[in-house]
Assembly symmetry: C2
Homo-oligomer: 617 residues x 2
């Protein structure tokens, strides 16, 4: 095998035997990619032959077709070019890391993003100092980095400086460094070290999700989630803000438990993937404005006072250690931008992930979190609002509600004759409660079966052992104790129905108001995001009146789009600028100031497709 | 009194009564300064009248003389211009903060520097958010900062973001923020808050000094010093490096005690000045390379192995909190640049303070620290080296040596007939030991009196109760126990003399070698820096052979020039770039590789002016 030198920038390539450039790139693990598996089809593996003293195969017909005039500038397709001898070969920026990453949500909806992480690894061989030129470690490293990669004068985090002398003096050959945003070295390790990891986090009011991602391969390698531990200090945003105002050290307490929760999830994900959290070189984070502020240790109290201004809006890069996040010692956390006091970076991330800001179709995007955020529009304009939907869609404030975990009822079917109930549970376990989609499904079926009337009250005229008086008023038994995993009847109460009525009316009314105000036109598609968004049956959602009437074929569950948006911003740094633009360009409608919203909210509490009470008697 | 608005950039100024522009600037505490006390002499208080709808006094003869053609561009002298009505007035950059700061060293040598700190305060009045435009706190603040001062988009430290909402909602009017380097807000407080403080630190091997400086006024307000607590782990640099290599956690230990020492000195200085350390918005730090590395927590072990490379050379800005320094929560520490493994930022600071790099005179600058660093040259070129002089010049390794504190002997006179000794002590206290200048003075006198012979040995032929055998060989009693503050005889031992012989020969030989290698020409002046540098009598120094023969009139003590350099870099940000240039342009001579140095070192151990032993017998 020929000795070969082949580096990303203007480096001499020597080959004694004939070598296909693409194959040598693959052998040497260079950041040169084709999207057709080197079959000469995609034309993406462009290299520039700057100079050659050896022999190069003449351009193929296909190269002539794909490259055209670029051939004269030395461009070639690596997969079709054979080299014998030596040449100076360069990999142009556009041929770097052009892989597509596919994030799969539960429902076949695909997000794709170009892999262009904000942190990249560079391998260099730093020369030893001499007695004549005893240049410092840092300065020799920077010199080599400029020579090898044309990277000029990045700064070194002080903790990297502490690692530097040992990293340069290992028995291993060379040094691998991690560069953040082209201007700061955030890690340095001895030898040629593979593995570049990042973590995306979605801090929901009720649910926290962490995605561990291999940034070399663009692959999700572990997903972990848990209930937001702040829940024990208040189920919704407003009660947590009150906690900060009323309790001494309230802010510090809420801040430290969410940080601890994230650290634990990162630790679980790392352990599952077999890596150390210190190998994680960046985190992205999204959440509603209050969650964002609490994570940053920023007082959210003014979010609850008109005119509800956030403390900050733009995206932030903060050292993980300044937030207490236990990943790479010098790593950054990128917090995506916020729109308003009650439209957070979770909504911006949803837009980014679903791409409605680049689409022609007029889309209504509903994020079914505890803070129901809604956006309407397309590439010509977007308008958003926030409705305090409450945690019902995530199983919160529901008698037997729970997170979408093993044993949660996610779908129910009720026989309108017998009122017998068939349920489907996550992982097909014995039922232990209802997750958000289960609640919606059960209520929709109860409406269809005539158990729930249009005003939301139970149908007194119906007689069944399942329909009975409970401790908190009327209730309907979904699963008898003997069939559950908990030995108790799982019921839906009249109070549960009221919770859903308020939540759905808030969402519905917000959506109607956005349409009215924007005057963009008719909704062409509806996207349901959120922890349960993906699993909600569009027919059920329409049945309970979650969104304005439309062809249910145009309703798509897009899963945890906020989390995917955080992943996208982690995978592709350019998407962060796009997020910033989305936040700046999207209009915001404050519902607290809107009497029209109040009017809509009150009038849309009913289940319009249900039998009216008056129809019976 | 007329309502008035007068801001540094293009702001409309309204005056109903006649007002002198300079007086209104003073009333409003604007950064507009004259150096003549507004007497119309200096011509420094230039303002630009961009537009006026009112009445402006015509230019005076003096203004015509000083401003010339600038008058046509709207320039005026504020102290001579009267306004009635309104005008758009601008304070050009050159009229900002142009005060001179005078640092006085003990010996009347003056350093002067223009006041141009890297941190500045800005007062702004941030508008409240409205329900129509509920812009975030941070974004409203940035908008106002741009409107009022043309400052674009600085970042906010995350800890400043935490303070922001309360700072904007105080009962006090307006907000004062501290801007570091024009691109980061490092503090924000409610109301119009005066007081901007910085601290300069000189981390010597033996002595640590901290200067607390009022950056508004350019005044030193407290100086505190203490022995470097690392001394208990090794008196010199090499032994501390060994400690790091040999002891587990050695680096962490040495790092944390120097940080603790600096924090205590800062606390003492703040307490003396009546301020809180959190009001200190920046620290500058100088020290030799090993002290610099230990302070940063960077392993110095490779400094002791050829070719002695430092881990880093360029200046660094590091968050104080990342170093454990307890000043402003978001403040930075600026570490001045290093030259080489044994020429640190202390030497660069000495050059900066003495200005030998801008002078025509060929200067020999000797920093009499534990690590004796020497530089030779002028504006056309500088060459430096480091000699392991040891701590003798700071009283270290000397039987009765001590720091230059109360009761330290700083000067001795010996009657050659009676051998009676007269001593002068710091603060005229009863003597308790000898500081560096005292040791040099005593040895010079002993040479003059014939007590010490040319090879450094005591004169056996001399008989006096003061000259006797002690535990460690011969010793000379400087002060009898009854006359001291400690009840013990204060002596100079044969071993003390040897320490000084080695130290002075190292300095002398280094100086000679720099002259030989550089070929710059004859030394025209000698500057003695260091904790004792200022107090050493040039005649004494020449007597013991500390530097090449020269007219002692050209020898000046410049005090703790390294510390003054740290102050200068704190007071004027442009001096930091100058320091960087000095570090890059000064040549470095490695003595460890020089056999010529060894030759010189051995042959210059003698006291050439002393009586030779052979002369006696």
């Amino acid at each position: 095998m020929a000795e070969i030198l082949f580096l990303p920038f203007d480096k001499e390539l020597k080959s004694e035997n004939s070598l296909n450039l693409m194959q040598s790139a693959i052998t040497l693990k260079l950041p040169l990619y084709s999207t057709c598996g080197s079959k000469g089809i995609c034309g993406k593996c462009r290299v520039i032959i700057e100079k050659t003293d050896g022999l190069i195969s003449p351009p193929s017909d296909h190269e002539q077709e794909v490259l055209g005039e670029l051939l004269q500038k030395g461009y070639r397709l690596a997969c079709e070019t054979i080299l014998e001898g030596s040449a100076v070969v360069r990999i142009p920026e556009e041929s770097h890391s052009k892989r597509q990453v596919i994030l799969t949500s539960g429902n076949e909806h695909l997000f794709s993003v170009r892999l262009l992480p904000n942190v990249r690894k560079y391998y260099i061989e730093v020369r030893e100092p001499t007695i004549d030129i005893p240049t410092a470690d840092r300065e020799r490293l920077l010199l080599e980095l400029e020579n090898a990669y044309h990277l000029k004068h990045p700064i070194l985090d002080p903790l990297v400086l502490r690692k530097l002398p040992q990293a340069l003096r290992s028995e291993k050959k060379g040094t691998t460094l991690s560069l953040w945003g082209k201007n700061e070295i955030v890690d340095v390790v001895p030898g040629q070290k593979n593995g570049l990891f990042g973590v995306a986090s979605d801090i929901g009011t009720t649910t926290v999700v962490v995605y561990l991602i291999d940034l070399d391969k663009g692959q999700e390698i572990s997903v972990q989630s848990s209930t937001n531990p702040q829940t024990s200090f208040g189920a919704d945003v407003i009660s947590r803000i009150s906690f900060c105002q009323e309790q001494r050290d309230g802010l510090r307490k809420l801040c430290s438990i969410i940080v601890q929760c994230l650290n634990e999830l990162v630790m679980q994900a790392s352990s599952e993937a077999g890596i150390d959290p210190s190998q994680i070189m960046e985190m992205t984070a999204v959440g509603n404005t209050a969650m964002h502020h609490l994570f940053m240790g920023v007082d959210p109290r003014y979010l609850s006072q008109a005119p509800y201004p956030p403390v900050l809006q733009e995206s932030q890069n903060v050292k993980a250690r300044d937030l207490g996040i236990a990943i790479g010692h010098s790593a950054y956390v990128h917090l995506l931008p916020l729109k308003a006091g009650f439209v957070g970076s979770d909504m911006i991330a949803c837009i980014l992930a679903t791409g409605i800001h680049r689409s022609n179709a007029l889309s209504l995007l509903i994020d079914l979190g505890t803070n129901g955020e809604i956006v309407f529009g397309n590439k010509d304009g977007l308008i958003c609002c926030s409705t305090a939907a409450g945690p019902a869609f995530e199983g919160g404030h529901i008698r037997w509600g729970m997170r979408a975990e093993s044993g949660a009822i996610e779908k129910a079917e009720i026989d309108p004759q017998t009122l017998n109930v068939m349920v489907e549970t996550i992982d097909n376990q014995r039922p232990v409660g209802l997750c958000g989609s289960g609640v919606i499904s059960a209520i929709a079926e109860m409406v269809r079966a005539g158990i729930i009337l249009s005003r939301g009250n139970f149908n007194d005229g119906m007689h069944s052992p399942r329909l009975r008086d409970g401790k908190e008023g009327g209730e309907f038994v979904l699963v008898w104790a003997k069939d559950t995993g908990i030995g108790q009847d799982i019921v839906l109460t009249q109070k549960d129905v009221s919770e859903i009525q308020m939540a759905k009316s808030a969402i519905y009314s917000g959506a109607v108001l956005l349409q009215e105000i924007s005057d963009f036109g008719q909704i062409q598609r509806i996207l349901l995001a959120g922890a349960s968004g993906n699993y909600i049956d569009p027919l059920d959602a329409r049945e309970i009146g979650l969104f304005p009437a439309c062809d249910t074929a145009t309703v798509t569950g897009v899963g945890n789009a906020a989390g995917y948006g955080a992943c996208i911003a982690l995978l592709n740094k350019k998407k962060r600028k796009e997020a910033e633009k989305i936040a700046k360009k999207t209009d915001y409608l404050e519902l607290a100031a809107s009497s029209r919203f109040q009017e809509l909210f009150v009038s849309n509490m009913f289940f319009t497709s249900a039998i009216d009470y008056e129809d019976i008697f």
